[in-house]
Symmetry: C2
Subunit: 479 residues, 2 copies
């Protein structure tokens, strides 16, 4: 039962009047800041910037001219500056770094959460990274070093070490006191991690559990021992899947000795999800993925990311050309056959793309595993059969009525229509099976399944569709 | 500077030894539960199920045979049952509902968070919804009714009314006491919402703020007045974008009088993000989106979702066929031209798909707005020019060397190669501009930009590529 039906059943209407919009408020805030800047009312500008959300302030800064931006940024207090900085794009971060003194930069780096600092380091040019490493305190440098150790896109690379740890013999009261003492610098205080003396993870306890229980309860009796955790080398995509499955707020990350080394928080996971989805979209469209958002990518970067697949696909179309050249004379014998080649190739490509997209997405959500290959083939075969029959039937009627009678194309006879229609069935069957299997094969080989998407599938189906067409034409038309 | 370079610079290695895996533990747990079920040790089974995570229990239940599953489910205590139930897929939920008594069902519905109950109602068949509405308490029925009022995929439809509200004159101590008193049933206690007497939203305060400040501080001095909020009718995609921009844990939702009516929590937003990304993938591949995961979709459902676009695209290929029929004789004059049609159409389709995908994704992340149309055209024109030139150059050399000399295709002369190469440049220019503009046009018209993706673009570019080819051939080859 969908929503509309329920609404009809219950005789409800939807609201349509004017409502408050956060966007309007946001614009008004930006205007206000710009006005203060115009009037050079730096004191008021500083006050307002510190009141507003750090993301909005970062947006505001990104829109003022290059030479004034660092000056405005320096109005911010140390903590506010770090928060705003973490929300900036890399080019803006670079402008800031290049305009502050070493001691200001050192202060900034110390204030950043380690995971944000590491994120930033991965994007900055080498000379800037070297400068930051030189001025950071030894502890921070060690931490950053340690984080850079983890493979890109691993749980280790997105975790932070700023968490609250408790011991199981502590009482609720002691625990809350500890949170109040050390909580200020922690990325989250809402999930606390219970560890042994040698830093092994024993359980987790939420602040909700603490607040909703008596002060003298002991953590051991409260903590959840069935902890969902990740290893430092786990892929970030697997981590984000677990967050979505288990509705987590924070997840502990352990090293190979099962020692707690960091936590991943839900806000980082949201970024990971966006990044992974964007990556899949890119790969599936034959674009090499990039960390830079589209609107800020230099033209040459876009070119570099797009040309490899275009080139590969153009060159691999040589097979199709060769087949077409070999059989050109044969196809020419029966006039009208050539006209349907683009339709057949298109139908093959689209059918295959549907299957590959469905399977790629299902794999990436953990809904399908590589061990389901046989099940998937069987489903796709049946769907392909239904689609093929429906398309073939409509095409047969359409060719006879529209192409044959209305458009007066004499070449379209019943046997030509039958040839094209029968070809459709086989092409759809082939495309859907190949489209669904290639992503699973890729996953089995340890490749990203998304690479087996539309561009590659259509290169394969183009050539095979043509061969099927020629084979069926030989059979039915005896040419 | 990428991670590898940093690692090399710092002379770091990556870890590669065996690490702990949560997945292994999960499997072991499932085996243990199955074993208890085999041995009919129901008491121990109940104990273990209540200890484990509700998502894992739901997975376990989904895998036992139909007739035993509801029996095992009924072992769970009321609260655990509701948690597990909320994590089940709709078919499993239906099996449970159909096997419990009215009073058991009523208990279950009361225990569910309202948003979970509404989610479920939207998917269930009408007779089951009617049964639930009949047995629910009047308060719950009212709440559900009220939620069903909001448009599908709006902030109102994903919010929950179980939040903690505070007043600005309360002290930290009073606030914490209130959280301890009413917090147990709330979806989150970590963000509290400060409202006026007439329920208008005044500010928010986090439990972190409360814990890190003195007991006698007054909420008014602590709360953040710059609240990021949504309206009930805002699209859920806009809400999830704000969560990702502002790193939120919970967001208040207000009605048109600015009264606080509910909150959206981050775990719901993660589901929204997955759902929206899946929807975009589906639409872009020419599949009608569906709420049912791929692995559980009935074959006929898959067929119904895939056939409309396949049919539409097959029929619209008639234009390409007509063009090809009209110019067949002309193209036949110069042997060899026909063989390159699939490559030209493929290159057009792929170039267009790259641009449309990049723009669709950028629009959905809020990185590009419809007002950026001119900027986007200008970027795409330049990228298309670079891609076109590169492809044309490689194609020219490839045709002369490979097709002409190696494959001994006499039809491939310098002027034929020039015709094909020049066509490539125009095709890529056309495809990239159309591919980038159609999604923006769709957004302007209030449609989902994803609908302007690969399938539609390739239908357009197929026909136009052919026309460009014919035009260029006339010009260069004088045919």
């Amino acid at each position: 039962m969908d929503e509309m039906e329920i609404k009809e059943a219950l005789d409800l209407e939807t609201e349509s009047e004017y409502e408050y919009e956060y966007e309007a408020i946001q614009e008004q805030q930006a205007d206000e800041l710009s006005e203060l800047l115009e009037r050079r009312d730096m004191k008021q500008l500083k006050t307002r910037m510190e009141e507003l959300n750090e993301f909005d302030v970062a947006e505001f800064l990104s829109e003022i001219e290059d030479n004034r931006m660092p000056m405005v940024f320096r109005l911010l207090s140390k903590t506010a500056a770090a928060d705003v900085f973490a929300n900036m794009d890399v080019p803006d971060q670079e402008r800031i770094i290049n305009s502050v003194t070493d001691s200001e930069l050192a202060g900034l780096v110390e204030e950043l959460y380690v995971d944000d600092a590491v994120d930033m380091m991965e994007e900055l040019p080498a000379n800037v990274v070297a400068r930051i490493m030189r001025i950071a305190t030894p502890q921070t440098r060690n931490l950053i070093n340690q984080y850079l150790r983890y493979p890109e896109n691993s749980a280790g690379s997105i975790m932070t070490s700023e968490f609250v740890d408790l011991k199981k013999y502590m009482s609720v009261k002691e625990s809350i006191a500890r949170i109040r003492r050390i909580g200020a610098d922690k990325e989250t205080i809402y999930v606390c991690f219970v560890t042994t003396m040698d830093r092994k993870l024993e359980g987790i306890v939420s602040v909700k559990d603490l607040l909703l229980n008596d002060d003298d309860m002991i953590i051991e009796d409260l903590m959840d021992r069935n902890v969902i955790f990740a290893s430092t080398t786990d892929d970030q995509e697997a981590v984000s899947e677990m967050f979505s499955d288990y509705d987590l707020m924070a997840m502990p990350v352990v090293d190979k000795e099962n020692r707690l080394v960091g936590i991943v928080t839900v806000d980082d996971v949201i970024d990971v999800m966006e990044q992974e989805a964007t990556e899949d979209f890119d790969i599936m469209a034959g674009i090499l993925p990039s960390d830079i958002p589209y609107s800020r990518s230099p033209i040459f970067e876009l070119f570099k990311n797009r040309i490899p697949w275009l080139m590969f696909m153009m060159l691999s179309a040589t097979f199709t050309s060769m087949i077409l050249t070999s059989f050109e004379d044969m196809l020419a014998v029966q006039a009208g056959l050539v006209a349907f080649i683009p339709m057949l190739m298109g139908t093959g490509g689209n059918s295959g793309a549907q299957s590959s997209t469905a399977v790629i997405r299902s794999l990436s959500l953990g809904d399908t595993e590589t061990s389901d290959a046989l099940k998937v083939v069987w489903r796709e075969l049946r769907v392909a059969f239904l689609c093929g029959i429906a398309l073939a039937a409509v095409n047969f009627v359409k060719m006879l009525l529209l192409d044959g009678m209305l458009l007066n194309n004499d070449a379209v006879t019943v046997s030509v229509a039958a040839t094209v229609s029968l070809t459709i069935i086989f092409v759809v069957l082939f495309a859907k099976v190949v489209g669904s299997m290639l992503p699973i094969l890729a996953e089995k080989l340890g490749l990203d399944p998304a690479v087996m998407a539309n561009p590659l599938i259509s290169t394969v189906t183009d050539a095979v569709s043509l061969l099927i067409y020629i084979f069926v034409a030989k059979l039915i038309l005896n040419i």
